[in-house]
C-alpha cells in the first residue's frame, strides 16, 4: 500500500478537492483505494460497467439510476474528482460550519442532497418530474409485484398530493416541501463515530 502521504501526492489537485468537498485526507485516501479497486482495468477512470460490477448495487431497484447520476450527459467516464464530488453529497451536514455569505453552498447541504434525489426521478432534466417519470421509478422499485393499475393509482395520488400549482408535474420546490426535514440523520450516510480529533469530544 505504501505510505499515505505519497498516495495523497499522487492525486492531482487534492487540496482543492478536500476544500470543495470537505472530506478529510483519510477519507480521500479511502475513497481513492475504493476508486482503484473499482477501476479493475487500471485506466484511471470508471465506466458504467465498473459500477455495474458492484453486486449490491446491481441488486438495488434504482441502481442504474444511481449509476447514471455519476455520468454527466454525454460523458462515458468519470474521473476521481467527479467521483469524490458526487459522493460528497452524502456527507452529513456540517453543523459547525460558519455561514459566510459569499461562499458557495457546500456540496452536502440539504438543498443539494435533495437536488440529487430529484435528479434520480427527473431523467430528462427539464426541472420537473412528470407523471411518466414517476411511473418509471415506481415500476423500478416495485417490479412485477403490483399491477399496472395499482402503479397508476399510486402515481396519481402522489401527484395530487404534492403538485401545488396544478401543472400535473412536480417541480423541485414542490419536491422539497414533501421531503423530510431531518435528511442527514437518517436518510443519508452517517459518519458519527469517526474519531474526529479536531473536535472536543
Amino acid at each position: 500500500m505504501g505510505s499515505t502521504s505519497s498516495t495523497l501526492l499522487k492525486i492531482p489537485n487534492v487540496e482543492v478537492l478536500m476544500q470543495e468537498t470537505g472530506f478529510s485526507p483519510a477519507h480521500i485516501i479511502r475513497l481513492h483505494d475504493r476508486f482503484k479497486a473499482l477501476d479493475k482495468k487500471g485506466r484511471g477512470h470508471l465506466c458504467p460497467q465498473d459500477f455495474g460490477a458492484i453486486k449490491e448495487l446491481a441488486m438495488n431497484p434504482i441502481g442504474d439510476r444511481i449509476i447514471g447520476a455519476f455520468f454527466s450527459p454525454g460523458k462515458e467516464t468519470v474521473d476521481f474528482h467527479t467521483f469524490v464530488k458526487i459522493l460528497a453529497h452524502f456527507r452529513p451536514v456540517d453543523k459547525n460550519r460558519p455561514k459566510e455569505p459569499n461562499s458557495p453552498e457546500p456540496i452536502n447541504s440539504r438543498s443539494n442532497k435533495l437536488r440529487f434525489a430529484f435528479q434520480l426521478y427527473d431523467q430528462d432534466k427539464d426541472g420537473k418530474i412528470s407523471r411518466d417519470e414517476l411511473l418509471k421509478v415506481l415500476r423500478a422499485m416495485l417490479g412485477m409485484q403490483v399491477t399496472e393499475e395499482q402503479l397508476e393509482s399510486i402515481a396519481d395520488r402522489t401527484i395530487q398530493e404534492a403538485d401545488l400549482d396544478r401543472d400535473d408535474a412536480i417541480s423541485f420546490e414542490e419536491f422539497r416541501k414533501v421531503s423530510p426535514e431531518i435528511l442527514h440523520s437518517r436518510c443519508f450516510i452517517k459518519a458519527p463515530v469517526i474519531m474526529l480529533m479536531e473536535r472536543d469530544c
Partner: protein, 444 residues
C-alpha cells in the same frame, strides 16, 4: 580528488565485505536456533506473546501521537468509517423517514384532505432516499468486495503494508519499526528462504515448511481427523491452508492447475502421491470432475480428498457459498475450519492483486503464521436433503466453529455477475409494505 577517492572506496568495499561475511556466519550459526524453535513449543508461544505486547504499545503510541497532532486517525471499517452501517431493515427505515415527513406536513402546509398519518404505509416520494442511500453505500463499500480484500486490523503490527496512517508519530516508534524491518528482512527471511528452497515439497517437508514459516498451529479435536475414502472440506484463505492441513495428515489434493511457481510445485507433488489436478475450464464440466472424484473415493485405500468448496481464496472473515459438486458424490464429509490470527501476518492471498512469488515473499517476512484448525465430526447427506442443503449445513458448521460470518454470496462473484433474483427480492419486500395498505384503501 582522484587519488583520495580510490583508497577510500577500497576501504568501504572491504568494510562491507567483512560485515556481510560476519553477518552470514552468524546466520549459519543461528540456524541451529530454529531447530530449537521447532522442538520447543514454549519459545514460540513466548515469541507470540511478546509480539502482541509490542503491537499494543505501538498502537497506543500512535493514537496518542495522532491526538497531539490533531490528525484524523484512519481506522478500519468495524469501528467507524465514512458510512456507519447499522443493520436497519427496509421497514424500519421507511417508517422513520415517513414519520419525519408527515410531521412536517401536519405543521400546516397546504395539504389535501387526507394528510397521511404516521402509521400509513403508502408510497412517498422520499422512499427513494432509502434506496439511494443503500446504493451509494454499496458504491463506497460493499460486503462482497470486502471479502476479497485483506482484512483491516485494529492495531498496527509494525508491517508497513498494513499501516494506513500518516507516518512518523514518534521517534521511538520509528526506531522500533526500523528494528522490526531489520529483524524480519535480515534474519527471518533468509532463514526461511534457505529452509524453503532446499527441501522438496513432500509430505515430510510440509512439517518443515510449517516450522519455516514459524507457524503456530493449534489442532483441535484430532479424533475427528479425516479417514481414507472420505472427503475433507475446509474454508479457503491461502495456499498455506494446504501446507497446514497436510502437515497433520495425508491427503489427496484436488485443485486448479496454476501457472508459474505454483504449477511447478503441483507437478512435483503429483509424482509423490496420487493427486487430482484440473484445468479451470475442465472444472466447468461437472460430470467429468464428479466422476474422477467418486472413482477416487470408492477406492478405500486411497487417501481422503481435500477440497475447498468455496472455489477461491476468501479473506478469512467469512465463509462464502460452497459449490455443491463435492457434496453430490455421496461419501462421508469431514469438515475442517481454519482460522488465521491476522495480527501476526495477513495470510489472505488476493490472486487478482498479487502473484504467487510476491505473496510468498510477504508470507515469509511476516512475524508468524498463527492459526487454529478445528476438525469437526463427520457429516453425511441425510434422507430427503439435496446437495445444496447439505453443503449449506456443512458451511454453517464450519462458520460457527471458526467464528466466521456465514454468507450466502457466491465465491464466484469475485469474477462473475449477480443474478436478477436478488433484485426481485428487494422489489418484493418493498411492495409488501405498500400493496398491503392499497387493498385496505380500495375496500374503504
Amino acid at each position: 580528488m582522484g587519488p583520495f577517492m580510490s583508497p577510500f572506496n577500497n576501504l568501504l568495499c572491504m568494510l562491507l565485505g567483512i560485515s556481510f561475511t560476519v553477518w552470514f556466519t552468524l546466520l549459519l550459526v543461528f540456524i541451529i536456533v530454529p531447530a530449537i524453535f521447532g522442538l520447543s513449543f514454549g519459545i514460540r508461544r513466548l515469541y507470540m506473546k511478546t509480539l502482541l505486547k509490542v503491537f499494543e504499545w505501538a498502537t497506543v503510541r500512535m493514537e496518542r501521537g495522532a491526538k497531539e497532532k490533531k490528525h484524523l486517525l484512519y481506522k478500519p471499517y468495524s469501528l467507524n468509517s465514512i458510512i456507519a452501517k447499522e443493520p436497519t431493515s427496509l421497514e424500519e427505515e421507511l417508517k422513520e423517514i415517513r414519520r419525519n415527513c408527515s410531521s412536517r406536513e401536519l405543521d400546516g402546509s397546504a395539504s389535501t384532505t387526507t394528510s397521511p398519518s404516521p402509521s400509513s404505509s403508502e408510497f412517498e416520494m422520499s422512499d427513494t432516499f432509502y434506496f439511494c442511500r443503500r446504493g451509494i453505500e454499496s458504491i463506497v463499500d460493499d460486503e462482497v468486495t470486502k471479502c476479497f480484500t485483506a482484512e483491516e486490523l485494529e492495531s498496527w503490527n509494525l508491517l508497513t503494508r498494513s499501516n494506513n496512517n500518516f507516518n512518523h508519530i514518534s521517534t521511538r516508534l520509528t526506531v522500533l519499526w526500523g528494528l522490526g524491518v531489520v529483524i524480519r528482512y535480515g534474519f527471518l527471511l533468509p532463514l526461511r528462504m534457505k529452509n524453503f528452497l532446499s527441501e522438496k515439497v513432500h509430505l515430510m517437508c510440509y512439517r518443515i515448511c510449517v516450522r519455516a514459516l514459524t507457524a503456530i498451529i493449534t489442532y483441535h479435536h484430532s479424533e475427528n481427523k479425516p479417514k481414507n475414502g472420505g472427503i475433507c472440506v475446509a474454508n479457503h484463505t491461502s495456499p498455506i491452508d494446504v501446507i497446514i492441513l497436510a502437515s497433520d495428515g495425508c491427503y489427496a489434493m484436488v485443485g486448479q492447475i496454476h501457472g508459474g511457481l505454483m504449477g511447478l510445485i503441483q507437478r512435483s507433488m503429483v509424482k509423490a502421491c496420487p493427486h487430482i489436478w484440473f484445468e479451470r475450464s475442465e472444472v466447468k464440466d461437472r460430470h467429468l470432475v464428479a466422476k474422477r472424484l467418486s472413482n477416487h473415493v470408492k477406492d478405500k485405500s486411497k487417501l481422503p480428498i481435500l477440497i475447498f468448496p468455496e472455489g477461491t481464496c476468501i479473506n478469512n472473515t467469512s465463509v462464502m457459498m460452497f459449490k455443491k459438486g463435492s457434496f453430490e458424490i455421496g461419501s462421508t464429509v469431514y469438515p475442517v475450519a481454519i482460522k488465521y490470527d491476522p495480527r501476526f501476518g495477513e495470510a489472505f492471498w488476493n490472486s487478482s492483486k498479487f502473484g504467487m512469488v510476491n505473496y510468498l515473499l510477504r508470507m515469509m517476512s511476516s512475524w508468524a503464521i498463527v492459526c487454529s484448525v478445528w476438525y469437526l465430526p463427520p457429516m453425511s447427506r441425510q434422507e430427503g436433503e439435496d446437495a445444496m442443503q447439505f453443503a449449506n449445513r456443512v458451511k454453517a458448521a464450519i462458520a460457527r466453529q471458526g467464528g466466521l460470518v456465514d454468507l450466502l454470496w457466491d465465491g464466484g462473484l469475485k469474477r462473475g455477475k449477480v443474478k436478477d433474483t436478488f433484485k426481485e427480492e428487494q422489489q418484493k419486500l418493498y411492495s409488501k409494505i405498500l400493496v398491503g395498505t392499497q387493498e385496505v384503501r380500495s375496500r374503504s
